[in-house]
């Protein structure tokens, strides 16, 4: 048994605010990439769902390939995190799979309507399209509704 996951409680971590500053910086960079690649654009999402341009498919597929190769290398060479822990990717449970196709399809409808998935929604608010706080708030209500209905939904 390794103790990498359930070790004794870590001592109070120093540099926590430094960690958070790093995540803020990564988020800023993520937001810039989403905006500059126009992945936040309702027009680009329409183009994608109408199969009239390669742009979004290029972004998504090259992102998957780069991330996939990186994950394969991390596993192949048993790379560790900066804190020296094993890299662990918690597997998703399949269950009956209902949640994936049903939830996925519902999100797909929202993606086409708002022209944005969650990351782009927040980037759009930052870009100055203030009305997007409406779908952001509606998304919070939707998430809350799911949490409330969860015991009664098939998964």
């Amino acid at each position: 048994m390794t103790t990498t996951l359930a070790g004794p409680a870590l001592p109070v971590r120093r540099g926590r605010s430094r960690d958070l500053a790093l995540y803020l910086l990564l988020g800023v960079f993520f937001g810039i990439v989403l905006t500059k690649s126009e992945a936040v654009s309702w027009f680009r999402i329409q183009e994608m769902f109408r199969f009239q341009s390669f742009h979004m498919y290029g972004i998504l597929s090259s992102a998957v390939v780069v991330a996939g190769v990186a994950i394969a290398l991390i596993k192949r060479y048993h790379m560790r995190t900066l804190r020296g822990e094993d890299v662990v990717i918690a597997p998703k449970t399949m269950g009956r799979g209902v949640r994936y196709w049903a939830g996925g399809s519902l999100f797909g409808i929202g993606w086409a309507f708002t022209g944005a998935c969650p990351g782009p929604l927040f980037a759009l608010v930052g870009s100055g399209l203030t009305v997007i706080v409406v779908p952001v708030f509606a998304a919070l209500v939707g998430t809350y509704a799911y949490g409330w209905l969860r015991p009664r939904l098939p998964h």
Binding site: I32, S37, R50, V66, G108, L121, P135
Partner: protein, 184 residues
């Protein structure tokens, strides 16, 4: 600088986005996933008696909420300081959307639909309110969005993510070809 100002091509943006997956894993075993933040926000704001929201959100998601704050800031930088001209969409899409009554192609989203004055119209309610609701409900139900399932999940060759992504497109195609023409 001119290169930064121009829209970034897919072969620059895609690989950059992909690199966030190993970067977050190697930093501290964090998994890329933006929609988790909707859950964290619900947990922070109104956990009440809903078990789905009763967990230590700061422990689980403070890093991600800070990342999300960065995304908003990045949107400001990308959409203002590095602002590009109108989105150069395919002529076919331009024609299809014009046929649906969209004429303002100047912003990141059509102003006719995405403005405060349209919120209380039927189109505005459907696109902004119902659309947003579907994004929140759907991603929470599916346990991920484009980043968590579409990029991180597919990259890790996870079957649930493959099913979820097929769902994304099933819903998106239904909305685009069946629902939107009836709403716009």
């Amino acid at each position: 600088m001119a290169l930064l100002l121009r829209p970034w091509p897919w072969y620059v943006a895609g690989p950059l986005i992909g690199l966030f997956v190993p970067a977050l894993l190697l930093l501290d075993n964090k998994q890329l996933g933006v929609s988790s933040n909707l859950r964290h926000l619900c947990a922070a704001l109104a956990p009440r008696k809903v078990s789905f929201f009763r967990y230590e959100w700061k422990e689980a998601g403070l890093w991600n909420l800070v990342f999300l704050a960065g995304v908003v800031l990045g949107g400001f930088i990308g959409g203002n300081l590095l602002a590009a001209p109108a989105v150069a969409i395919a002529t076919g899409t331009h024609a299809d959307l014009a046929a649906l009554g969209i004429h303002d192609f100047s912003g990141l989203a059509p102003r006719e639909l995405f403005s405060w004055s349209s919120v209380l119209t039927l189109r505005g309610l459907v696109l902004l309110v119902a659309g947003g609701f579907c994004v929140g409900f759907g991603t929470a139900y599916a346990g991920g969005c484009t980043s968590g399932h579409g990029i991180a999940g597919l990259a890790n060759l996870e079957r649930p993510s493959m099913i979820a992504v097929l769902g994304f497109f099933a819903g998106g195609l239904l909305a685009t070809f069946v629902l939107l023409p009836r709403i716009l």
